[in-house]
């Protein structure tokens, strides 16, 4: 079993998640958008080794497969940013504990940052869909 995620780990300030167009069943003509915004580059100061990159992982309890096409695990996810980041969709587990204490079992998008996040404010937009009014946890 994967380890329990310790929620008490520090949070990065001035880096948060926002929802734009938060209605359900919006379809292809009015897509929902999740937006990550970092407005304080000084929060990204941990020292990287040459073989290291900062990564943001956005876990989705309801999964990331509600876009127009069914993505295969480890395929590229369509996102955009003012940084030259890369985005990879990774499928989660179907059988293990999927409660909010175990987000590592959820579908996720790994966003590998280019390094300029420590000197530049940035935003990342992630399109998605909400097919129901059920709670969506990220």
């Amino acid at each position: 079993m994967l380890p329990l995620i310790v929620q008490e780990r520090s949070r990065i300030t001035n880096f948060d998640m926002y929802f734009s167009n938060n209605i359900y069943n919006s379809g292809g003509n009015f897509l929902n958008v999740i937006r990550l915004v970092s407005s304080d580059p000084t929060q990204w100061t941990n020292v990287l080794q040459v073989n290291e990159k900062r990564v943001i992982t956005v876990f989705a309890y309801q999964g990331w497969t509600n876009l127009f096409t069914t993505l295969s695990s480890y395929s590229s996810y369509p996102c955009a940013s003012n940084l030259a980041a890369s985005y990879t969709y990774i499928q989660g587990s179907n059988t293990q504990n999927l409660t909010s204490d175990y987000p590592l079992n959820w579908d996720r998008i790994n966003i590998i940052l280019p390094g300029t996040e420590s000197s530049t404010k940035f935003s990342i937009i992630i399109p998605t869909q909400y097919p129901s009014t059920a709670a969506y946890s990220f």
Binding site: I12, S20, T57
Partner: protein
């Protein structure tokens, strides 16, 4: 969660976690139970665009209509546009008018995280996200001014929707455009178009033409250029494009349609090609229809899907009266003029023009000539300049199926001047015909004869004279594979005595080695036991030349003599003993 990825092994070490997804947290969403269409439709909310399809336009107003209660004070507030074409491209930006705006506020130098972003979410769907922040309630219409927006490749306005999102992430209002605003875009004209052919003669079968053009718009990555031909035909897959300074622009493909009147050129450029710049395209395989009253092209710069013309123009070709000079064959001569003997053929000819890039120089042989000469290894062909001394290096292939000998890589070599061909090792036909051998320029793409000799430009073939058949018998010794063999010919001359000037030629079958002897020191011949000089033929494969007899032999049945050739490598047994592959092969002994 935020962590550090070890690029060596892909392991992620998470250092920070976001808010736990519980009710009220920024990571927890319960979508609103409403429809988009129950929100106010703001009919004034639109991109104000019209103009040249596929062009880029600056200072475009995007009218936004907030409701009276609109509050945009968070990173959730934005204009989201779903469109079937990508109007906000990498070169697009907020104009200075908008970046300097205070209320509502847009991205400026200090707020790069607020710049608009675009994602392609499906093959025909693009999401553009334009964030903005007001300091609070903002209830009046305003414009977002955008630069270098990309207009669609269509004359009608394609689908797009606009939704204005407030600070809570909820839709404040929307607008949608479905199948309306016909013909608000139009196709532009090219800035400049020129068209000429290397040979502008009416009726010319194969020439190359040059299109020079410049455009008012940048040419897209992977754009398609279409050449519509009227009174002209094209048959090629060979095109080239360059800037006026000669720098080449890559082309992915160049294909004519079935009717040969539309050529589609797909570019392989990896960057946009700038507007107001001279380009030239060279198209091979063009022919000019002499029956048409005018000959012209319509040239179109299309979008990368080849669906819409962005710019186009028509240009007439100034043609001239046909002066289609044929290839001229000035002389034929055989080395031996007897029928059905190993011989050589020499052809002198004059070319009327250089060979084009899409053409091959070729010989066409008639059936009587190709039938005894369909084994390439027996033939040695030399192409000479008119001086008869300077060799033009070339390689050739024999295509039995269409009776052609095709020379390769002569496109930049042959010019409008005189040459001679030397074909060694051929077997003369039983009778000669005037069409025994023709010289052509072959358009490679469709095997069209672009140029050829005609009856009036072809010299007369020399007549053949019958040969004398003498009584010759052959004995062979040391007939073991790989051993040095001895061939013993016993001959009775009927009419001509043997003198020091007599020359014998011996042609061996192709199952012998082409150079005949493995080593030069093995070359050894005798006449009736007395040594005499013998060599390989200089140019003819499988041929031995024996000469300078030290003996004088008179004619008649009482004066038998022998010619013996030593040291020839004995061929493999598998090639002999009735092998059908070599049923027509034989040893030939001739003398003159």
């Amino acid at each position: 969660m935020v962590g550090i990825l070890d690029t060596n092994n892909g392991a992620i070490r998470y250092l920070h976690a976001g808010a736990r997804p519980i009710m009220g947290a920024s990571t927890y969403l319960t979508p609103a139970n409403i429809l988009v269409y129950s929100k106010p439709k703001q009919t004034a909310m639109q991109l104000n665009i019209a103009g040249l399809a596929g062009s880029y336009k600056s200072n475009v107003n995007f009218t936004i209509s907030p409701s009276a209660s609109f509050n945009g004070n968070s990173y959730s507030s934005a204009v989201i546009v779903m469109s079937s074409w990508q109007f906000y491209v990498s070169s697009s930006s907020l104009s200075p008018t908008s970046t300097a705006s205070v209320d509502p506020q847009f991205a400026n130098v200090a707020n790069v995280e607020q710049t608009p972003l675009t994602i392609q979410v499906s093959s025909t769907s693009f999401l553009t996200y334009i964030p903005f922040t007001t300091t609070g309630v903002y209830g009046s219409n305003f414009n977002i001014v955008l630069d270098s927006l990309k207009f669609p490749y269509s004359l009608d306005l394609p689908y797009y929707s606009v939704s204005l999102i407030d600070g809570t992430g909820a839709i404040d209002g929307y607008n949608e455009f479905i199948n309306q605003n016909q013909n608000i875009f139009y196709t532009g004209v090219l800035q400049d178009l020129a068209f000429s052919c290397n040979d502008n003669s009416l009726g010319v079968i194969n020439t190359y033409c040059t299109i020079g053009f410049s455009s008012f718009q940048d040419i897209e990555i992977g754009a398609v250029l279409v050449v519509n031909l009227y009174g002209l035909f094209v048959s090629t897959n060979l095109c080239s494009m360059q800037y006026s300074n000669g720098t080449s622009i890559p082309i992915a493909s160049c294909l004519p349609n079935v009717n040969q009147n539309i050529l589609t050129i797909t570019l392989a450029n990896t960057e946009q090609l700038p507007f107001n710049t001279q380009y030239s395209i060279v198209i091979n395989g063009m022919s000019i229809d002499a029956t048409q009253i005018s000959n012209y092209i319509t040239f179109q710069v299309m979008d990368p899907t080849n669906a819409y013309a962005i710019e186009q123009k028509t240009r007439i070709l100034l043609t001239s009266v046909a002066q289609d000079f044929p290839i001229e064959i000035t002389q034929f001569s055989f080395e031996k003029t007897n029928p059905v003997v190993p011989s050589s053929l020499f052809v002198n000819f004059t070319l009327p023009r250089p060979l084009n890039a899409d053409e091959a120089f070729a010989l066409v042989l008639n059936k009587d000539f190709i039938t005894p000469n369909n084994i390439p290894s027996k033939i040695n062909i030399r192409l000479m300049m008119a001086d008869g001394v300077t060799l033009v290096p070339t390689t050739w292939v024999l295509k039995s199926i269409n009776s052609q000998i095709i020379f390769e890589n002569l496109q930049t070599v042959l010019t409008a001047s005189a040459y001679s061909l030397e074909l060694y090792g051929i077997t003369t036909p039983s009778t000669v015909a005037q069409d025994m051998i023709s010289i052509i320029y072959l358009r490679i793409y469709d095997n069209t004869y672009a140029k050829s000799n005609i009856a009036s430009s072809t010299s007369t073939f020399p007549a053949l004279t019958s040969k004398v058949n003498s009584l010759i018998t052959l004995q062979t010794y040391f007939n073991t594979e790989g051993l040095e063999q001895e061939l013993l010919f016993t001959v009775i001359n009927q009419f001509v005595p043997i003198t020091q000037y007599t020359v014998w030629v011996i042609n061996l079958p192709i199952y012998y080695s082409q150079p005949i002897w493995n080593d030069d020191y093995l070359i050894y011949c005798t006449i009736s036991g007395t040594p005499l000089p013998c060599t390989r033929s200089v140019h003819t494969p499988y041929q031995i030349v024996v000469s300078s007899s030290p003996l004088l032999v008179s004619v008649g049945s009482s004066t038998t003599y022998t010619i013996t050739v030593f040291g020839i490598t004995c061929p493999r047994a598998a090639y002999l003993n009735g092998n059908s592959m070599f049923a027509t092969e034989s040893i030939f002994l001739g003398m003159y």
